[in-house]
Structures are given as C-alpha cells and as structure tokens.
C-alpha cells in the first residue's frame, strides 16, 4: 500500500473550517444563497448602458435594456451557470472515481475531441454556431468512446491505469489533429476563430444554444447529485465496493457517462474553459470534507458561482470581451497556488 502522505501533520478535523463552524448543511445553504444572489445581480452587470451596472429603474423604462437582458445576458448567465456546475460536478466525480485528485473532467479525450470537432467545422464546414457546436459535441463523445474502447482493448494494468493511458493517448491524437487544422486554416479568417474557440468564451451564446444543452446538463447533474453517496463507495477499491453490496462496474459506468456527457455538452458551446473542473472540487473538499454528500453539491454551487463571477469580469473589465477561459485559468491557477502555499493538497499515492 502506498501511503506517501504529504509531510505536514494534519489537525484534528482537517479541511472542515467552514463545515465545523456552520455545520455542513447550513454551510451549503449559504453557498447556494450566494449563488442565487450573484446570479440575480449579474443580470445587471455588463457594458450597457454604463460601463458596469444597469440600474433597475433603467431596466423598467428602457426597452433595449429589457431585450438585452432577456435575449443576451440571461441565456449567457444560464450557460455560465450550467458550465460551472457541470465542470465542477464532473471534476468531482472523475477525481473520486479515479481516486486521483489531479484529474480534470475533459481528460478522457472529451476536451481535445471537442476542440478538434470545432476546428474541423470552422475550417471545412463553416462557422455557423450550430455547426461548430454540433461537431464539437460529436467529437467530444467520440473522444470519450475511443478512450473507452482503447482501455478495453489494453491488456495490462488495472482499469484506472488503462483508462487514464487511453485518455492521454486519445487526447494527444486529437490535439495533433487540432495542430494540423490550425496549420491548414486560413490565417486571416479561420485561424482567429479557432484560437478564440480554444480560449473559451460565452460571448455569442443565444437562447437556442442554452436550450440545446440544458436537457443533457440537467439530466447529468441530477444523476450525479442523486448518486453522490455511491460516489464515496466507488472511490474505494473495487473489491471493497463489491463487498459492500455495490456493482462497481455498472454504477461507475453510469456516473462516468453522466459526467462526460455534461462536460461534452457545455464545452461544445463554450470552448475550452479550463481549471474549473480541477480546482473547484478541491476547494469544496477543503471546506466541506471529502464526503461527497456535501462536497459534490458544494462543488456544484461553487463552480456555478465561480463561472458566473468570472463571466461578469469577462463582460465588464475591458471594452472588448475577455475570453472566459483566460480568466478561469488565471483565477484557478492563482487559487491553486494559494492552496499549495498555505496547506498541502492531501492525497495518497
């Protein structure tokens, strides 16, 4: 058994500052409340009419403002919410299923597959939103399927190792493909579009796009949420999970499918938005403990909050849009550095 625990001695109840002070349930309530408030306020944040805020009186009087909030900001914020919740929940699920805290939701070929699909569409089929989204989703799922098939064909190692290796190989393949497509792309028209897509942004989200991913995202979130207790079990070894009356293979496949489908759906409209799925589950576990009964819903709410706030900054900071992926990476990496500097990431292996 590898027990390479990191060095710093842990306090009596590690990682539960908030939870011990408030109790995990009321801590969750506060975070959910913060999410609702942030979402509501964000409807008034943006570069119309002033540089940051739209006053409620103005919204009542100004028809253009109403149309803007209803047709642009609301679908965009809803997508940001779905994006944050999906990536964080999926990240939490992947990290627990693989017993590895450094896994992020796109790693099974999903992210790179989506990137390849989007680039393929931009170069050869045109950059209509529905086309790019459709191809991105298609190739995201293809990447996932390829990873699974490859893992099943591999003849050595345990299930987790095989899947991780297959994910790395498939991702590398698709990222090479993206490289080829960038090389052949028209440098004036197509290359900037590909680059912008790869940076990840919610600037062109419409109701049609938000509606197109909502059913998949909602279904996947419900599955992950309802199965959060099983997630604890599945983080243990297969034999142990089996001895506890679980069918590990089936339940794991269901959770993986839900997590990957949610990721593929949101990535297909947003492009590459990194770090949310890696960092938010860590913060949730730090605040609420490892038990997914609390950590998973906490990760969902915090992920939604993080994405909504990052998108507020993306809309308002500069006159032009800042791609969301840049901000999530920047803030995510800063959080990560802060966590590494203040207290060790606790994990075995």
């Amino acid at each position: 058994m590898s027990q390479s625990k990191t060095a710093v001695p842990a306090p009596a109840a590690p990682g539960r500052g908030l939870a011990t002070r408030l109790g995990p349930l009321s801590g969750l309530t506060w975070i959910a409340l913060a999410l609702v408030v942030a979402f509501g306020l964000s409807l008034f944040v943006g570069r119309y009419p002033g540089s940051v805020l739209l006053s409620p009186q103005r919204l009542l009087a100004d028809e253009l403002a109403q149309r803007l909030v209803w047709n642009l900001r609301l679908p965009r914020l809803l997508t940001a919410l779905m994006l944050g919740m999906s990536l964080s929940a999926a990240g939490c699920v992947f990290q627990m299923l693989f017993g590895n805290p450094l896994v992020e939701p796109g790693f099974l070929g999903v992210s790179q597959g989506a990137a390849f699909g989007a680039a393929l569409s931009i170069v050869y089929l045109g950059s209509a939103a529905w086309l790019v989204q459709g191809l991105a989703a298609l190739f995201a799922l293809l990447g996932l399927a390829l990873s699974f098939l490859l893992a099943r064909r591999t003849r050595f190692g345990g299930w987790v190792l095989r899947l991780v290796l297959a994910g790395i190989a498939v991702s590398a393949l698709f990222s090479a493909g993206v490289g080829v497509l960038k090389y052949v792309a028209d440098p004036l028209r197509q290359l900037p579009e590909i680059t912008f897509w790869l940076l990840g942004a919610l600037s062109s989200i419409t109701w049609a796009q938000a509606r197109s991913i909502a059913p998949v995202v909602l279904a996947a979130l419900v599955v992950m949420y309802r199965m959060r207790w099983r997630l604890n079990l599945l983080s243990l070894d297969d034999v142990t999970a089996f001895s506890l009356g679980v069918a590990p293979g089936r339940e794991r496949a269901l959770l993986l499918t839900a997590a990957a489908a949610a990721t593929a759906a949101v990535v297909s409209v947003s492009g590459m938005v990194g770090w949310i799925g890696l960092i938010v589950p860590h913060i949730a576990r730090r605040l609420f403990g490892a038990d997914a009964r609390y950590a998973l819903p906490a990760a969902m709410c915090m992920g939604g909050l993080f994405a909504v706030l990052c998108d507020d900054v993306a809309r308002t900071l500069l006159a032009g849009e800042i791609p969301l992926g840049i901000l999530t990476s920047l803030f995510g990496a800063l959080f990560f550095l802060a966590m590494l500097a203040t207290r060790n990431i606790r994990a075995e292996r």
């Binding site: 058994m1 990682g15 079990l233 089996f242 001895s243 506890l244 576990r285 994990a347 292996r349």
Partner: protein, 258 residues
C-alpha cells in the same frame, strides 16, 4: 457436527482462462461460530479463496454455497448484509472522517439512492466505540497510524453487521501491541457469534486465535481440521516445504524455524 455456513464444493478457479488454475477442485466447509485461519505459502490461493467466498470471483467449475444456498442466488445487497471483507490493504484516497468512512459499511442496508440516516449513524458510532476508536471518530482516516487505520477498516466491516467476516492478512502491517488489539477484538466478535475466516502468513497468528485451521498448498486444501490436529510439525513442514517445528508453551502452540 453442524451444517457448514460456507461451503466450497470442488471449486476450480484460474485468473487466465487457459492458464494453470489457482485453485484445483478445492472442497472446504466453514462451520458457524468458528474462527478459521487459512495458512499457506505465497501464491497458494488464500486471497483467491476469500474472493471466491465473497462472490467477487466466480468459480470455473464447482460451487460456493452460503447457508446451503448457491452464492449466485443471493442479491448483492443480501450478500453485503451476510458478510463483510477486511482487505489486505485498503486504499482510502480521500480524507474521510472515521465516521464517514465507517458509515460506508451501512450501504447494504440502504436503497440504491438512499443515504445513511440517524440509525445508521448510531450503529456507526457504536462500532467505532467497539473497536476502541471512539475518541478519534472525527479524525480523518488518512491521518491515522497503521494500527488505528486497520481498526477503522474492521469497524467499517462491522457496520455491515455481518454474520461472516472475511479478513485478508488482518495483522500483517501491525506491531505487536496492535496485533494484540486486533486479535482481542476478533475474539470478542467470535464470542458475539460472528463466524470468522482469515488468511495469514504467520503460523503464530493462526495458533493464537483460530479454532479451525486450513493448510493450503498449490491450490488445494492440504489439511483442514481443529487447530490441535492440523497445527503439527509434520503438517506445517509439508505445507511450507521447509523444516518447521511445533512446540507448546503454556498450552499454546508456536512454530519454530531456522
């Protein structure tokens, strides 16, 4: 002689479909209320035997029966209520508190999407108390010492309220004091009516706790019976293939070797 609780009937099993089998036509009965220790050299098939008892592995031929019924006829949840496993080394990748970890043992009593309730928490706290980890129950499992951690794993298995407890090398990483602690706990469990089946590398652990002894060699039962009959110079020497001498000190058998 009572009917066996767990019964292997001419069980053959191999990990590779066409390779040499690990267990060959093995027959064995475990009687209720006993403490049975399985001894044998590395690769004799001890862990495989436990995994077959659990239903995790399925025999190529032959049958495993629990309480007179084929293992395959039980539902997964029923089996989880019947028996629990203390694995050789349990990987716990996240820092669950002891109580959170032990509550996982209540899973066989929960519907698929249920979560543990007040009764489960009470049982969890009870078994944590029983294994002597009461004062630590809010501590993270990952911060425990090797001995405390093994006690936590046993507590998780006890939360299943099993009638049959399978233990794979329960004392292998432990120092003397922790061994004594675990063995004392196992005796208490036996006194409460739990049937125990454990594997061990160390004859002295078997001699200290078992009522029944199973000696395995090359995928078969070489000798099985009450400790007094199976734990002998002749049988242990034949099992391990090196000279072993059995002596008696204060009524307890010990295996001596050079």
């Amino acid at each position: 002689m009572s009917a066996p609780l767990l019964e292997f009937e001419r069980v053959t099993f191999g990990y590779q479909p066409h390779g040499a089998p690990v267990l060959r036509a093995l027959s064995l009965g475990i009687e209720p209320g006993t403490i049975t220790a399985i001894l044998g050299p590395n690769g004799a098939g001890k862990t495989t035997l436990l995994h077959l008892a659990l239903g995790w592995l399925v025999p190529h031929s032959g049958q495993v029966r629990l309480d007179g019924r084929a293992l395959g006829s039980y539902s997964r949840r029923d089996l989880g209520q019947w028996m629990a496993l203390v694995p050789q080394s349990e990987r716990i990748p996240f820092e669950y508190s002891i109580l959170e970890y032990v509550l996982l043992g209540r899973t066989p009593y929960l519907a698929p999407l249920d979560m543990p309730g007040a009764k489960d928490c009470r049982i969890g706290e009870q078994v944590i108390e029983q294994v002597g980890l009461g004062p630590l129950s809010a501590r993270a499992v990952t911060t425990l010492s090797g001995g405390e951690r093994q006690l936590a794993v046993v507590a998780r298995a006890l939360a299943q309220q099993p009638r049959l407890l399978l233990l794979d090398e329960p004392t292998s990483h432990l120092d003397l004091a922790n061994r004594v602690r675990i063995l004392k706990l196992l005796r208490e469990l036996s006194a409460q009516g739990v049937t125990l089946l454990l594997t061990t590398h160390e004859p002295d652990i078997a001699a200290a706790i078992a009522t029944q002894l199973v000696l395995m060699r090359a995928g078969q039962v070489y000798q099985a019976g009450p400790l007094s009959q199976a734990f002998t110079t002749q049988h242990l020497t034949a099992t391990y293939g090196v000279p072993v001498h059995v002596a008696q000190v204060d009524g307890r058998r010990i295996a001596l070797w050079t």
